[in-house]
């Protein structure tokens, strides 16, 4: 009889955090944010103009089209990135099959070399096409890789403090994400290095509702440590256009599908 209350208290202590309202809410915020930013619609197409400005103010441009198809919401996804500019990389294709439970498959097609190469993707913290965006900023970081904590809530947003579960696999020690309550889009993220210095921000500069989906149409990464930034602008965005899964195969790397053109 004496044992019971102790066991109850122990059980309560053990499960309290997991069953608390806040913890539930955090997981939900994270899940909704993940879906809002990377899984809108069944599929989608967008044209992207990327302006890379380095610390010296020199500008470089990238222009590409992204096709995306969700296989499973919050899970497997297919990406097809077709480069238009700079001109000498036109027709270059970067294709990704994204998985949650294993490393992504990535392909690179280099038209002038007529070469298809798979790229190992154990590390997603590498640059996306020489910009300040990382591969993971574009394709999404799996929520399971981090621990999330709600540190602030206002009428408009949630502020999450996020720490990686495997600190050795990433270059940041933690980051914060401000998530807009109405759209659940992360609109401002700050990354901190191992010394606790803020060195990088990712922000949504403009959000528009397209076909009922709140969509970031302009975003920017700033490199606070080295200077420089990349601005990404999205245009001609459309969702649910009926992309076939077969488009996201090696066969279509050499000659892009017509869906690349509007």
């Amino acid at each position: 009889m004496n044992i019971m209350p102790t066991a109850v208290i122990a059980a309560l202590l053990l499960f309290w955090p997991a069953t608390s309202a806040t913890a539930m809410e955090v997981a939900e915020i994270v899940e909704r944010a993940n879906k809002a930013s990377y899984y809108a619609g069944d599929d989608g197409r967008t044209e992207v103009r990327m302006l890379i400005t380095d610390a010296q103010g020199r500008e470089r441009e990238r222009q590409f089209v992204i096709l995306r198809k969700n296989i499973e919401v919050g899970g497997r996804q297919l990406f097809y990135v077709y480069f238009e500019r700079p001109l000498d990389v036109r027709r270059m294709v970067f294709m990704v099959h994204k998985y949650l439970d294993r490393d992504d498959d990535r392909w690179l097609f280099l038209p002038d070399l007529d070469l298809v190469r798979r790229i190992a993707a154990s590390d997603k913290r590498s640059s996306f096409a020489g910009s300040h965006f990382l591969y993971e900023d574009v394709s999404g970081r799996a929520p399971v890789e981090d621990s999330h904590q709600l540190i602030e809530e206002s009428a408009d947003y949630y502020l999450l403090d996020i720490t990686p579960n495997d600190p050795g696999s990433v270059e940041f020690s933690r980051y914060t994400a401000r998530i807009d309550k109405s759209s659940f889009l992360p609109v401002y993220m700050e990354y901190f290095d191992r010394q606790g210095q803020k060195y990088r921000t990712v922000e949504a500069l403009a959000v528009e509702e397209i076909q009922g989906f709140p969509t970031v149409i302009k975003s920017r990464v700033r490199d606070l440590a080295g200077g420089g930034e990349t601005l990404m602008e999205f245009s001609n965005i459309s969702y649910n256009i009926g992309l076939d899964e077969s488009l996201f195969t090696e066969r279509f790397l050499r000659r892009p599908p017509r869906e690349i053109r509007r």
């Binding site: 020199r58 990389v89 280099l110 002038d112 790229i119 590390d123 000659r255």
Partner: protein, 875 residues
Amino acid sequence: MIGHKWTLPALKYPRLIIAVMTTLTLALGLMIPRITVDTNPENMLAADEPVRLFHNEVKREFSLHDVVVLGVVNERHPDGVFNPESLTRILALSRFAQELSDPDNPERRVVRRYVIAPDTVDSIEQDGPGQIRFEWLMPTAPTSREEALAVRDRALGNPLLRGTMVSEDGQALAIYLPISSKEYAYQVRRALLDKIAEFGPVDDQYHITGLPVAEDTFGVEMFTQMAVSAPLAMVAIFLLMLYFFRKVKMIIAPMIVALLTVIATMGMLIGTGYTVHIMSSMIPIFLMPITVVASIHILSAFFDKYQESRDRVRTLKEVMDNLFTPILYTSITSAAGFASLALTPIPPVRIFGLFVAFGIMLAWVLTVLFIPAYIMLLKESTLADFGVKGPDRQRQEKVSALDRHLNWLGGFTFKYFRLILILTVVTLGVAALGISRITVNDNPVKWFTEKHPIREADRVLNHHFAGTYEAFLVLESTDQQLSPAAAAQLLGQTLREAGIGPEEKVWAEQAAAEAVAVAAAGDDLEGFFQELETRWEDQLFAAADDVAYDFWATAMNHLVALQGRGEVFKQPEMLQWLIELEEHLIRGGTVGKSNSVTSLVRKVYQELLGGAPGDYRLPESAAGVAQTMMAFQNSHKPDDLWHLVTPDFRKANLWLQLREGDNQVMEQTLADLERFLAVNPPPTALEHHWAGQTYINVVWQQKMVYGMLWAFLGSFVVVYLLMTLLFRSPLWGLLAMIPMTVTIAFIYGLIGFVGKDYDMPVAVLSSLTLGLAVDFAIHFLQRSRMAYDRLGSWLLAKEEIFAEPSRAITRNVIVVSVGFVPLLAAPLVPYKTVGFFIAAILAVSGLATMFMLPATLRLLERRLFKPVRVRGQES
């Protein structure tokens, strides 16, 4: 004689004079704590010097920094440092180093993103068939031998790392730490050494080098030297004077004069806002002998004369009458010699020259006022036994080896004057031969002695790696743009030649016509390409079949190729030419390795193709190069590309690793490049420019050599005019130049024969020679003339000259030259050089004065001493 009049205030108000002088000096001395040190050899050139502006521009444009190199070597372990333990320590060091910043000034830090270390570089490699992998080379420490060796092999397989981060023998590893400010190098070195000390005794040897470390460490050690060497020299001079003059109270006076001069001059230098550069740190060492020399002349004369009257006022007046003019002139000539350095194009040398000149004139004022005032303040009893007592003179001469020797010398120079003069001519001839062998060279790392850890690091690391000295060769396209019409014509031509099938011929005509039409619309080349691109792209996506698609894709390729023509460093032929240039430089032997866009493109392309060794080559088209670079830019450090080429691909930077930092090595590299360019012009026009610390050193050195030469010739003329004025005779003027000329010829001849490089300290010594060597000649000739006027013949005059005046000269030579011997123990080579050469200059100019001048006077007696001037007896 007017001499003593100037000294009268000192004789009348000695206390006041001493009080005023000491106060003024101490006031100036109060400035000294404000000292700022500048050890940056770049500052040998003015800040707006074109080569420096360009160097800074290159650093900015290609995001380059001054680098501290930490090399790790393990000679015990069979795998070198590529064992788990050593690599674990290296990783710890690398992580530690990446976070370094100056707590007092966070702007001074290690620039983390550009660090080259095993955990900060990407490796590109095969990962199964058809798959490549970009990943950090060593994100965590290896735990097994296999993992450690895999790190080594992956690094060796990357031409950008081989010879740079990992030694070619696979034994050693180097970490490159770019720093935001060169002045932070010493602190980085200290921090690393402290961290290394935490490891305790291990088999790894750690070496830290790189020009910034050498320069910054030199600056720190320079001050230890200033605090040790200069006082040591003073002590030595003090002891020698004590030996000659016996009386501590007397010889304290010249020491005080020297001290006051040095304090006042350095106070003035620092107070007027100048930084203390390597050059100006030598001011005390240069001022001391010059100051002491003048005082010794007075003391020596006083010493010899005092006992004749035992009246210090009378003796002082007499001494000053004799010495005032020669001391004034020696001061003016010495000052002129140093002031002439103001004519050089090198700011620190100018400042050095002007402040030494200032110090010399100050020393003159102090000498003629302070020394007599000081003597006046001494108690009569202190002076009672000072100097050579009259009645004892004859006996003394018998005892004094110096006097015996001088007496002999007087006779010898009289008798064998022809032999002396012949030997002089022979010496000059031999010296000329030596001078012709002088090699102009400098290397800041060699400012440290052989055994210094920095030299050790330099030797070890340059043995293992391709070189720790950097030079940057920047190539820039000067190609002109096409007109839209010319571009349209070129495109049409290419398309018509390419079309094979009937359909393709039709499309080719269509495309060509379109190009001409678009070209006619405007003069803007960029607009032309964009418009045409849009039109052809429509055709591409409207293509009905693969044949059409391929045609328009090809047409687009031609368009892109033409548009990209201005991006010269994407063109395979240009990159191929660059490879040949790099190979030529490496064959030349001075360049250990060239890091450029060519190795990066070839390495990435090789891995894209499958990694076979034979595939280490360039893609065949500019688009191929561009796509290879784009593939590279998906790595962790895409910006590494911009160290090697600008984003417009019109400028390329070759980071050359030189194994030696000698200016000669750099000069040979410059010549090697010119030889290559003469025979192998680039495919399209390029300009080339050099940057990098090793190159800058060459530029200032060239300026210095010629600057010094002109300054020297200039001051030679000035001194000659002064001498002519002093002696009221061009011939006497010429005579006064003899010892100095011979000394300079001898010293530089010696430098040539010994093979000592003509470097910064050596260059500056010519001014010192000018100042010191002419000093003795003035005293000797002035006194000779005075004696001849009285006695009427050189035979008689020489007796007097080879007594008191010669004793002063000899004492000077011995005191000052021996006084500088302690400098030879300095751990910094420029101090050793200066110490040795000051001693040599004193000794040689003393000998030259004592042998050559009497010999010449004997030879030219009738010409030099006009009979009308002879008073009294017939010779």
